[in-house]
């Protein structure tokens, strides 16, 4: 008997303000696996995450999204969040007058996670009494986001460019936070799944992943061992992907 996957995306076509951003994306993330989505800026990676989270400006023209076997394509974001999907934004807004502690308490509504303890573990205690994300540096924003996710404790974490704008000192902490979120340091079987977006791929050094994809122009062209894909991109850049793609297309049309 095979387990119902955590997430199944089937032939997803999405447009934003009349512009097609996803053109038939399919992927499946089994329970306990972390998948990595590589791709240049503007290739549609963030659009895929935003669509999985359910933001209304990402209009699904075709295709379905299943979470734990349930069709969630038409649910609003808060219902998806309540069912167990969490997202780490690349550029989260700040909320004036609302303290991070208060925000964390709201995120933890269901499971009463230990906020103070978690903040201490990642050296973020002094930010609890500051307004959410207001005046935070790049690394602080990521930590704020990941702390919210840790408290929210989703079964599927969507993580958008966790290493962008973060200095070397902080990337290790961020890696640790993601590993905790995805139960990387606990014994199998893991219950948590993740989908991580990266255009540099450096996060792989800190977070092991089970599968990788390359996204180009709203389509997933390639999937396989994430480490191999990363090394290929590092060596040859995304140009090589394009060439590979052209070869594939020639083969197809031949």
């Amino acid at each position: 008997m095979t387990q119902t996957p955590m997430l199944q995306v089937k032939d997803l076509w999405v447009e934003v303000e009349g512009k097609e951003v996803l053109k038939g994306v399919s992927l499946t993330i089994p329970v306990g696996e972390t998948h990595i989505l590589f791709g240049r800026n503007g290739s549609g990676k963030t659009s895929l995450l935003m669509t999985i989270m359910g933001f209304p400006e990402y209009r699904v023209r075709h295709g379905r999204i299943y979470f734990k076997g349930e069709d969630i394509t038409d649910l609003p974001p808060y219902e998806r969040a309540r069912k167990g999907i969490g997202i780490m934004f690349q550029r989260p807004p700040s909320i004036k007058g609302v303290k991070l502690r208060e925000m964390l308490e709201l995120c933890a509504k269901k499971n009463g996670y230990r906020i103070q303890e978690l903040a201490r573990e990642f050296g973020f205690e002094k930010f609890l009494d500051r307004d959410v994300n207001l005046g935070f540096s790049g690394g602080e924003l990521k930590k704020s986001e990941l702390l919210q996710l840790l408290v929210q404790d989703p079964d599927l974490a969507l993580i958008d460019e966790p290493e962008s704008g973060v200095d070397m000192e902080n990337i290790e902490v961020i890696g640790r936070m993601i590993r905790k979120l995805l139960q990387k340091d606990t014994h199998r079987p893991r219950q948590k799944s993740g989908l991580i977006i990266t255009h540099t791929g450096f996060i792989l050094k800190y977070v092991p992943a089970d599968r990788g994809y390359v996204m180009l122009d709203g389509k997933i062209y390639c999937q396989g061992n994430p480490q191999e894909i990363f090394e290929g991109i590092q060596k040859h850049g995304y140009e090589e992907c394009l060439k590979c793609l052209r070869r594939m297309e020639t083969q197809l049309s031949a």
Binding site: M53, F55, P76, P77, Y78, A81, R82, G86, I87, F89, P92, P93, I95, K96, G97, V98, M103, L106, C107, K109, K110, D131, Q148, Q152
Partner: protein, 393 residues
């Protein structure tokens, strides 16, 4: 009353109201019903609490409570204080506010119901907030109040004043003249929470004088229904280094008319003033004014006026004014009126809040002005008032 040109035309007919003196006031707090006690509690006046370190309650024209437990200050009904001290009339009564100002000050000058007189003796720091409450108990009453607060040299005082009406009052008029004198190096914080009621009209007339090194912090909060409020306290920073800080937190539901603001005249060198207002419009009419007048060198003054429009009804009219009379002043203002950022709502929705919960959290955050120099107890009260108000938003 609703003209958008910044000079609203008064359409209140004073003859519709009964002078408070024609109504028999309650003799003591015991005469108030449970419903009334609950109402007072909503504006922070807890009559059940045993340890009132200072509580002044005036219902209609009558002073029903005037406890004065804390040391270092004197608290009297103003009518008694005027009999007791000749100097009060000579030096303070109708000095920071002129009786000729308008028809409301004229009426208050003609015949006074009552009000409070508070004087903190030199060097005394009364940290625990004093509570005052002006309460309209009878339908269609016009209440005339005159308050004087004197914070003597080096002293400190915090007042929280709650104003409200009996739940059965359908209309009323409150005229409140207040004169505050903050002496050399003294500090006075004054926090006013208004919860009047739908057809109650409120005309506070406030004048504040601050001497050398003195500090006034004034907070005004009105988050509930009200007929109309028109208030424009004028503060004179008379001595070198005096500081004035004015914060307003306002929600304007449909049917409310709120014309609010402050004027600060920086008369002495090195004085500082800041006016901050946050307005949320749910369909009411609001005017947010601020007028800073720089008359001495090396002054610093800033005005911040922010509004959120949550409805297509009503309006927010922000009128920030800067007026400089000498060189070497530093004066600035920023005003912004807008809607809630969609991005913030969606962010919160991704964390599991539905649209309504997300909106009220953003609005509450917007109104949550953190005020430096307030005792924690007062800051908590303000936060609680904002917290509770969102239930009705």
């Amino acid at each position: 009353m609703s003209e958008k040109n910044g000079n609203p035309v008064e359409r209140l007919n004073l003859e519709e109201f009964i002078p408070a003196k024609k109504v028999e006031p309650p003799k003591s707090l015991e005469e108030l019903s449970e419903e009334e006690i609950a109402r007072l509690k909503e504006v922070g006046i807890d009559l059940a609490a045993e340890d009132h370190p200072g509580l002044f309650v005036q219902a209609d024209c009558g002073v029903v409570s005037c406890h004065c437990v804390p040391e270092g200050l004197e608290l009297l009904p103003i009518t008694e204080a005027l009999k007791k001290y000749d100097w009060l009339r000579e030096k303070y009564f109708w000095k920071a506010v002129t009786p000729e100002k308008d028809e409301f000050t004229k009426i208050a000058a003609e015949d006074l119901d009552n009000g409070y007189f508070i004087r903190v003796f030199p060097g005394e720091k009364v940290i625990y907030p004093l509570q005052t409450c002006l309460y309209i108990r009878t339908d269609r009453v016009a209440q005339r109040v005159h308050n004087i607060v004197i914070v003597e040299e080096g002293a400190e005082l915090h007042i929280i004043t709650g104003c409200t009406t009996n739940p059965h009052v359908t209309s009323g008029l409150h005229i409140g003249v207040s004169e505050f004198y903050v002496k050399k190096n003294a500090k006075f914080t004054y926090t006013m929470i208004h919860e009047w009621g739908e057809n109650v009209h409120v005309r506070p007339r406030t004048g504040i004088w601050v001497e050398e090194g003195g500090v006034i912090i004034s907070n005004y909060i009105s988050l509930d229904k009200v007929g109309s409020v028109q208030s424009f306290p004028t503060c004179r920073l008379k001595g070198r280094g005096a500081v004035g800080q004015f914060n307003s937190v306002i929600a304007a539901p449909e049917g409310a008319f709120l014309d609010l603001g402050n004027r600060v005249i920086l008369e002495a060198p090195e004085t500082k003033a800041e006016i901050i207002s946050r307005t949320v419009c749910y369909g009411g009419e609001t005017i947010a004014r601020g007028h800073l007048i720089g008359k001495a060198p090396d002054i610093k003054a800033h005005l911040e006026c922010q509004g959120l429009m949550l409805s297509d009804k009503g309006y927010i009219l922000a009128i920030p004014e800067l007026e400089a009379h000498v060189a070497n002043v530093d004066m600035s203002h920023e005003a912004a009126v807008g809607k809630i950022a969609r991005e913030e709502i969606e962010y919160l929705m991704a964390r599991g809040l539905d649209e309504e919960e997300a909106t009220s959290l953003v609005v509450r955050g917007f109104l949550n002005v953190r005020i430096e120099g307030l005792p924690p107890e007062l800051q908590e009260r303000i936060e609680k008032a904002i917290e509770e108000s969102r239930k009705g938003m």
